[in-house]
Amino acid sequence: MMHIKILGMGCRNCRTLEAYARQAAAELGIEAEFEEVKDMDKIMSYDVMMTPALVVNEKVKVAGRVPSKEEVKKLLAEEA
């Protein structure tokens, strides 16, 4: 079971990243649990400076930008 976390305060970029992550997981056939992390201290505990950020199984895969859906798929596949 893959644990996917979206770090961010909830603005549109975070929404987009989450949508991509969900689609990517579905397309890759990965069973995943999604969590939104909005708490500042928790966000920083991942040593992330810029949101939105994508954390997969506790590893920060990307931070500070919204990658393309293809890139999200690649990042998820790496951790599968």
């Binding site: 305060m9 603005c11 920083m44």
Partner: protein, 346 residues
Amino acid sequence: MRILEGGIAELGEYLSAHVLTCLVPAFFIAGAIAALLSSGAVLKYFGPQANKYLAYGVASVSGAILAVCSCTVLPLFAGIYKKGAGLGPAIAFLYSGPAINVLAIVLTARAIGLKMGLARTLGAIFFSLIIGLIMAALFAGEEEKRDRTTNPAMFGGTEDTRPGSQLAIFFGLLIAILLFGTAKIPFWDKVAVLISLVTAVALAVSRWFKEGEFQAWMQETWKYVRMIFPVLLVGVFIAGALKVILPPEWISRFVGGNSLSANLLASLFGALMYFSTLTEVPIVKALTDLSMGQGPALALLLAGPALSLPNMLAIRNIMGTKKTAVYVSLVVVMATLAGMLFGAVA
């Protein structure tokens, strides 16, 4: 009915060649900043071991580069404060993020006036520095004692391999397009100059841009347009409607002239009220059309974008009530003073 007309009339003013010839290039510049200027290159100035003077200097102007999404400002602020260069530079960055914004400055200069645009820019840079320094001084004792597990690694980031001269030339060309587009020169001369400038940009892109960078630039530009332009139009419409609804006597009674109370009121209003990116400009313009003084107008522009009630609450979560209260007070006081100064000399 007149309200509708008022809104539409205001929209007409903004959707004119006058405003669009500078907004359009400005969006491209903002997009280029987002796409080309690597945040890594700037972030390293805010690390815990960074030179303090540089940290302040860079913080006071870099808001535009680092803060793409307004919700990015807060985590960055928290990071610099808790794990990086500390309270002072973090505050300078926190203020400058929303305040130093290419689009806002260009629109202010165009829609309200060059003097106001200049005053706003200089004021913003100055404020970031001063407020950051004051807060660092006020809370110096606490900073020492606070357990800061700083993390230099967070401020590494990816270095930009492109030579600075290329960036300077490229942005110089974009800015030239902006300035020439709005200059008072004969029409066909302007067309000739613009065509040559755009060709130069195209050359720069084909020679200097790496794979995918042009697309990234276009995408970032479009993202900004999509995010900001519709809301701006709504703001303009509302401002136009307000001009019809609000009696000028009211406005001049509270924020007319250049008194301390006028500036203070404008400042407080700006601090509490939330302004979506760029909407502060049509609103301030409408108020000045309704006889708000120049001083209070500047005060509003300096306190408005940087603060709002929801924003204050979020900041409070990061640095606590006392520091937040000091920060807000400093912004309001300085905006008031800057307004009074500007109102006196403008």
